[in-house]
């Protein structure tokens, strides 16, 4: 099954791409950059807020891929391989940037009465299933905008686990934190995102 976020390509396309990659022919490689560059840029933009940084990460990713082309396993898909390299390049870039003090997300956690027995305000059911709501462009844009508002330490865990589909151990390794920290941050990130998208999701489609 295709991994999330990867480009669909046929087996014949993949064989051709793999051959071009292994041969190290710049013209064939240019075809690969043209084919996957746009999507990889979308991936690095999600991780890095700055357009220039996102482009740098894509460039780094393709240079890394070119250097490592002989290690490419013919059993793999070029698209999946490049996607992974691009995520790693973006994470490396993020680590190299100066860390800012993060804002707290405590105000986005569920709000209970003092005894923890009940919510301060009753919850309102959302009008539509997520797939219907996000099928509308403005809602999809709104959801992505809210993800980008999460502080880095939460946003990255959410992106790696829920969007990239990486497992807890892999995410922990990439981010240099413990698997338990991944679980805690993911849970808090999801609860914060729920709170952020609620106003839009409670609206009925007009």
């Amino acid at each position: 099954m295709a991994e999330r976020g990867q480009v669909d390509s046929t087996a014949a396309d993949e064989r051709e791409l793999a051959r071009g990659l292994r041969d190290g022919d710049p013209e064939a490689f240019e075809g690969i950059v043209r084919m996957f560059g746009g999507r990889l840029l979308a991936v690095t933009r999600r991780i890095l807020h700055d357009e220039e940084d996102a482009r740098d990460a894509v460039q780094e990713a393709f240079i890394s891929a070119f250097k490592a082309r002989k290690q490419f396993n013919a059993e793999s898909r070029v698209s999946t391989w490049l996607h992974r390299i691009a995520v790693n390049a973006a994470l490396m870039k993020l680590r190299s940037l100066r860390r800012k003090t993060e804002v707290s997300i405590d105000n986005l956690m569920p709000n209970f009465r003092d005894d923890g027995q009940h919510y301060v305000e009753p919850l309102v059911s959302w009008e539509e299933p997520a797939d219907v709501a996000v099928g509308r462009r403005e809602t999809a844009d709104f959801v992505r905008e809210q993800i980008s508002k999460l502080p880095d330490s939460y946003r990255l865990v959410l992106l790696m686990r829920d969007i990239e589909g990486r497992d807890t151990e892999d995410t922990a390794r990439e981010l240099g934190i413990t698997p338990n920290a991944v679980k805690i941050r993911l849970h808090r990130a999801r609860m914060a995102l729920r709170q952020l998208i609620a106003p839009q999701m409670e609206k009925r489609a007009s």
């Binding site: 043209r34 746009g38 999507r39 979308a42 027995q117 809602t139 999809a140 992505r144 849970h187």
Partner: protein
Amino acid sequence: MICREVTEFLMDFQDGSLAPAVHKEFQLHLERCADCRIFIVQYQETVKAGRQACAEHSADAATEIPEELLRAIMVAIRVQE
């Protein structure tokens, strides 16, 4: 079990890693608490919404790489040869 604990145990509940006695208490609470049922549905829908919003965006972005970025990459690649 109280509502706050439902949010604390939610991931373990979904993973199936709650101790049987706690799992039972969790389910009993859900049976009688509409807010917590709504919360869990919204939590799951949030995960789907994020995933789908980003997947659709990647598909949209399948357009083209900016030409100047492509040129910069190819200059760097030729240096590597």
